[in-house]
Amino acid sequence: MPGPIQSVERAAAVLRLLSGAGRGLGVVEVGNALGLAKTTAHGLLRTLVDVGFVVQDDDGDYRASPALADLGRPRTGADDLRAHAVNWADSLAARTGESVRLAVLHEGRALVVHHVFRPDDSAQELTTGTSLPAHACALGKVLLASAPVRLRGSLPAMTARTVTDAAALRRALVAVREQGWALEVEELTASVAGVAAPVRDRGGLVAGAIGVDGDADRLVDTRGRPRAGLVPAVRHAARAISRELGARPS
């Protein structure tokens, strides 16, 4: 097992120092207090600003961010996620010919925060603001796969094909994590299938999931595998939005 990572220790020390200072501190003050070269202190402070733990005031001095008191709150809120996703969601719908949804995990369910209609101009209802049972849809599986949610006992059946056994779902989520996308066929609604992939923000946290859903006959072949091109298209859109949120390419 590797020993403590020095830069994490130093970052923690910088945060303690700034939180206790009662005023903004300059780079030199931080370096002096911790016995660090100015360039090292500057690098630590810039990185902490980038991740949102430190803010710089109008004089250029550094302070601990008020956001530290609220660390449980997602870094990228649903509104910002949507604003970054709009163009890519449109292009995913245009390429696949299917409807596109963007969801975040909210109280254990997949909350739809953006919806693009299937581009066939048929009558469709905007479902933004509705929430779906996470265990029964592709968007939800992607979100659950990366969330510290405890899955126990049995889950409600939406159709005959819903995975209701928590242990079986946990195993399925391991596969979702490994392959980087999720598929769902008729587990939420009869004759409907979906494919989704994670959208990550800086640092790799999953900020949401984007996916297509539609008629199972169109989305999967007779052996239940996603139609050629579908998974790459969904992952392409997910990666593009992640890039806009500052995630590093994986």
């Binding site: 604003a83 163009n87 449109d90 292009s91 245009a94 392409h236």
Partner: protein, 519 residues
């Protein structure tokens, strides 16, 4: 300079005549963008670069036209490289541009003579005032459809000519050329000093105050009034027509369209029939309604403008109402009040309450535009009680954009005699669901967002592709328009009516606030 990765195409099985791309150049106030579209009307590559205006004095706003040209020359190949396109793959180039900005350049050197004067620049205030004193602000409206205002390009040319006697002499000899941004770009693309085409599209020309809306040519009477020599002006051409062949950047490609950005958005939204309208929501709002082939007249403070002209077909006209402050109010909430940390967060804040709590916000920060045109009005937040929270203020902020849209829609309907059956929307604020739902609620018509939100570039691409036969007709373009989202009205009639009355009362109370000169 940023470039975004292209969406790879499912190119297999394409018919040969469907291969290739249309290049759209969107030369805007804050950025220049180059976008490639394929035959299906899908966006396949984007390259863009931001640029900043210069503010040399209070009220002056300038761009460097040489910089704009350099950006175009770099961005087009960059976007093409994303899909490995060669100039032979470019079937046509279309331009959409910031309107009313004036560029003057030397015919021989091909270099700008001084900075481009941007549409936001107000240095012409004295000229406009002086001309309006003799016959009123609307004295030229019967000919050009526009009131005298610092907004338009003609007075800018007058200012430049008045402030440089040698410029006037060179202009009269045709040694310096005048134009709006699309003129400058077409001239540079088609060879510049070496045979470049000096043209302006009819939609841009309709923003100068110098063009007669009926003849679609420079009006001798207006040229005389503004003191602009015809020799320096471009030839007015249709919005969709091959202007020439590129000799720079994409050698051999046909330059086949130009439209002012708002008209390009109307075209991209495929509003080809009378009564069809779109509203673009950015920092401000621009609502344009296609009114058909007859010149409409406004008695409700709207601008009359050319919507487009395809080849030798009769032109389509439009009524335009602009809202000065829409998204800018959300930014103000973020930057000046700190109630939110990013603009999109306004939606979550507004959703913390079910309604506005009786609170209304009229953002008359620099007076009110259409349909009121009240320069002396100032912003107002009214209906405050101890019950009102920041959530209610956020609601009032979003509702302000919706109510202002209704004011413009009512004016457009009154002037055109046409009823709006739905409103097509685009622009950054369309990702705000609550705002779009509120617009649908207060207008009582469905609000529809198209699949391609880059409607400005798409319009330029459509007009260019049409001119070279890449797409056969406007019907084919309509087929490419798809609904990405629709918001249906869900507000009870009496609630809407009460809100509308309250809003109008709030607006009335902003009038007449500025009563003395601010030092």
């Amino acid at each position: 300079m940023t470039t975004r990765a292209a969406t790879t195409l499912d190119g297999a099985g394409q018919r040969p005549e469907h291969r290739g791309y249309v290049v759209a150049v969107d030369q805007g106030t804050t950025s220049t963008r180059c976008i490639l579209f394929d035959h299906a009307g899908r966006l396949v590559a984007v390259a863009q670069r931001e640029h900043r205006p210069h503010y040399p004095r209070p009220g002056w706003v300038e761009h460097d036209a040489a910089q704009i040209w350099r950006d175009v020359a770099r961005l087009v190949p960059r976007a093409m490289a994303q899909v490995d396109a060669s100039p032979a793959d470019v079937v046509a180039v279309g331009i959409a541009n910031q309107r009313e900005t004036v560029v003057v350049w030397d015919r021989r050197t091909g270099e700008p003579v001084g900075p481009a004067v941007v549409w936001q620049d107000t240095r012409t205030a004295a000229i406009v005032e002086e001309m309006a004193a003799d016959g009123g602000a609307d004295r030229f409206a019967p000919v050009c459809g526009l009131p005298l205002a610092t907004y338009f390009a003609g007075p800018r040319m007058t200012w430049l000519l008045r402030h440089d006697e040698s410029l006037r002499r060179r202009a009269e000899r045709g040694d310096v050329l005048f134009g709006t941004v699309e003129s400058w770009l077409v001239w540079k693309l088609t060879g510049g000093p070496d045979g470049g085409e000096h043209v302006t599209d009819v939609t841009n020309a309709s923003r100068t105050m110098l063009m007669d809306l009926r003849t679609l040519d420079w009006s001798p009477e207006l040229l005389e009034a503004f003191g602009v020599p015809r020799a320096a002006l471009p030839r007015i051409v249709p919005s969709s027509q091959v202007y020439g062949t590129a000799r720079a950047v994409v050698p051999g490609a046909r330059i086949a369209a130009a439209l002012g950005d708002q008209q390009a958005a109307l075209f991209g939204q495929t509003c080809f029939s009378p009564g069809e309208a779109k509203c673009t929501y950015g920092t401000g709002g621009f609502l344009l309604m296609n009114t058909g082939t007859e010149v409409p007249r406004s008695s409700h403070g709207l601008l009359t403008t050319v919507a487009h002209r395809i080849g030798d077909e009769p032109p389509a006209y439009a009524l335009e109402g602009s809202i000065a402050v829409t998204g800018a109010l959300v930014q103000w909430l973020r930057d000046n009040l700190g109630l939110i940390s990013t603009a999109p967060e306004v939606e979550s804040l507004a959703r913390t309450v079910p309604d506005n709590g009786g609170c209304y916000f009229v953002p008359a920060f620099s007076g009110l535009f259409a349909p009121h045109w009240r320069a002396e009005a100032r912003g107002l937040l009214i209906g405050l009680t101890s019950f009102v929270t920041k959530g209610h203020v956020a609601r009032a902020v979003l509702e302000a954009s919706a109510w202002q849209t209704r004011e413009v829609v009512e004016a457009v309907e009154a002037d055109s005699g046409l009823r709006l059956s739905s409103l097509r929307v685009d622009g950054g604020m369309t990702s705000n669901n609550l705002l779009m739902q509120t617009v649908a609620d207060v207008l009582d018509v469905p609000v529809v967002r198209p699949m391609v939100s880059e409607t400005v570039s798409l319009g330029a691409a459509y007009a260019a592709g049409l001119a070279v036969g890449f797409w056969p007709d406007t019907t084919a373009l309509r087929r490419r328009w798809h609904r990405a989202a629709q918001w249906s009205p869900a507000m009870a009639g009496d609630v809407r009516e009460r809100g509308w009355q309250d809003w109008q009362e709030a607006v009335r109370r902003t009038f007449g606030w500025v009563r003395h000169e601010v030092p």
